[in-house]
């Protein structure tokens, strides 16, 4: 067990930010911490990394407790805070050099490590520019290099892709997946496709409490009792198509989607129970006609909908 969190609680004066959280993270896992704004994601990560002390509860990283040996824990972890706050006046190379010194790397190790990270994070052409001149995406990459300096066993990333453009997001995500092969990675995000794409396991927190915890695949399947099929047909009159498809066993409702339909194309949305699989029956029914099947897809329940259900106001 890499990280073990028990009954973790944090109060800011009267405000309870994190409320009795239990969490274990295994070695080599990529864990996504999801939640709406102000749910307690950042506070949880800050306690894990030793920036905040918990009001109550324990955190154990390997055999070290955060109360007794914070310095050992900090040595095992690399942390990228939200929006990568770095020293503005420094040059990128000087900054990385400073971090390497504090991390206790010796001279020969240091040069090799800085060089390697510059290559991995794509910093080679900006090593001699001031951090204040960099764009947000570049700063984020410097922050990532900072977090990985000592080749830590655990990497904690707070919203690593916020504010980046789509290309940069893909790049950062690739880097994270690359690191995740051998390291334990914990990342927080409120972008769901990101968690879906990058994480093995997802923990959803809301108002300081864990509301869901499970492997990404399992979480996506949970509570999926009905499914939605989208069908586009050519040369099919809308009324006849609706009538025919409604006849099929198990199809609960058929709606025409007028915004997606054109003169020759009829778009339909079918709601059916997910078990037994309705797709075969629907396809067979269409095959018997002379309509042309232009599109046939199933919408699975995304994390998005699960997230909305779990974090909705009661």
């Amino acid at each position: 067990m890499m990280i073990q969190v028990e009954q973790l609680t944090k109060y800011y004066d009267d405000l309870c930010a994190v409320d009795h959280i239990d969490l274990t993270v295994k070695r080599g896992e990529i864990l996504g911490l999801l939640g709406p704004n102000g749910a307690g994601k950042t506070t949880t990560l800050r306690m894990l990394t030793g920036y905040f002390l918990p009001t109550s509860g324990t955190i154990r990283v390997k055999e070290h407790s955060v109360h007794e040996r914070p310095k050992q824990i900090k040595q095992l972890m690399g942390y990228l805070p939200e929006s990568a706050p770095l020293y503005h006046g420094m040059f990128v190379y000087d900054y990385l050099n400073y971090v390497a010194n504090i991390r206790g790397l010796d001279r020969t190790q240091k040069e090799a490590r800085i060089h390697h990270l510059a290559k991995l994070c794509g910093l080679e052409h900006i090593m001699h520019r001031a951090i204040s001149e960099l764009s947000k995406g570049l700063k984020q990459r410097v922050g990532l290099a900072h977090a990985m300096m000592s080749d830590p066993e655990i990497l904690v990333l707070d919203e690593p892709t916020s504010g980046l453009d789509p290309n940069q997001i893909v790049e950062i995500r690739d880097i994270i997946r690359e690191i995740g092969r051998e390291k334990t990675v914990i990342l927080s995000t409120h972008i769901l496709p990101e968690a879906e794409a990058a994480c093995d396991r997802v923990v959803i927190i809301n108002k300081g409490r864990i509301v869901a915890d499970g492997p990404t695949e399992l979480l996506k399947q949970s509570g999926r009792s009905e499914t939605t099929l989208f069908v586009s047909l050519k040369n099919a009159p809308a009324e006849t198509a609706v009538a025919l498809l409604s006849e099929i066993d198990g199809v609960q409702s058929v709606q025409e989607q007028s915004e997606a339909s054109t003169e020759t194309l009829t778009a339909l949305k079918l709601t059916c129970p997910s078990d037994p699989d309705p797709r075969e029956l629907v396809y067979n029914a269409i095959k018997k006609t002379d309509w042309v099947l232009m599109e046939f897809r199933q919408e699975s329940k995304t994390l998005e909908t699960i997230f909305q259900e779990l974090t909705k106001e009661n």
Binding site: G50, K74, P81, P85, Y98, I102, R103, H146
Partner: protein, 234 residues
């Protein structure tokens, strides 16, 4: 200890990356130079008393200006979070920053060494008070740096940090001239608290352990208070 050194080196070079260092050194030399030498030839004495007498007052403005950014800026930008999740303790950070400030004060005093050298050409300079003066100046600079660092830990706003630091330093500097406002019984206590008093003693050329102890105490109390403030933020 290694960590203190790394932080010290970073903070010290930071002074010279930004224009702050050069501005502050220029202002310091201009003010002390003008006020101590405008009357130098009128008195016609080969001594540096005028210069050293000014230091407590000039330092109480200049040093808080040097130390105001040390914590405030990091808290404001958020880089303190990054720093604290590296394997360093609050103590390492405070000491590193403190020594960087003191070292900068020493650098700032360096050009003024030309004054005594220059005066030896004009007359017979008593080296005792000059040496004492510089020792006292470093003690005073250390105490005020610690106070300034404390002020900086209190707020994210550098201007507020400067004003708080300046008020405390200036109070320490003028306290012994305000003695008439205090009741007789506590005058000796108040007089002991005055930094000016202790600095004057050392600047006479008498390096007494009591005066050194006073400056060490101020440094210790201010740095300890800083560490309490920073720990509280956790």
């Amino acid at each position: 200890m290694q960590q203190v050194l790394h932080i010290f080196r970073k903070e010290f070079t930071d002074y010279f990356i930004s224009p702050i260092a050069y501005i502050v050194i220029a202002v310091f030399l201009l003010i002390t130079g003008w006020f101590s030498f405008s009357t130098f030839f009128i008195y016609n004495q080969a001594e540096l008393r005028g210069f050293f007498q000014l230091l407590p007052f000039v330092f109480s403005f200049v040093i808080p200006a040097l130390t105001m950014r040390l914590f405030s800026e990091e808290l404001n930008v958020g880089s303190y979070e990054t720093l604290l999740t590296l394997p360093v303790t609050t103590g390492d950070i405070i000491l590193g920053k403190f020594f960087a400030a003191v070292a900068f004060v020493a650098v700032m005093l360096l050009p003024t060494v030309s004054y005594p050298i220059f005066i030896t050409f004009l007359g017979d300079l008593d080296t005792g008070p000059v040496l004492g003066g510089y020792i006292g100046a470093l003690c005073l600079g250390g105490a005020f740096s610690a106070v300034g660092l404390f002020a900086s830990s209190l707020t994210r706003n550098q201007i507020i940090a400067f004003i708080i630091g300046m008020i405390i330093c200036f109070t320490l500097a003028i306290l012994d001239q305000m003695l008439i406002f205090f009741p007789g019984k506590i005058v000796s206590v108040i007089s002991y608290l005055s930094a000016h008093n202790h600095f004057e003693n050392i600047a006479k050329g008498i390096v007494d352990s009591r005066d050194l102890l006073y400056f060490l105490s101020v440094v210790f109390i201010a740095l300890f208070a800083t560490s309490l403030v920073m720990e509280e933020k956790k």
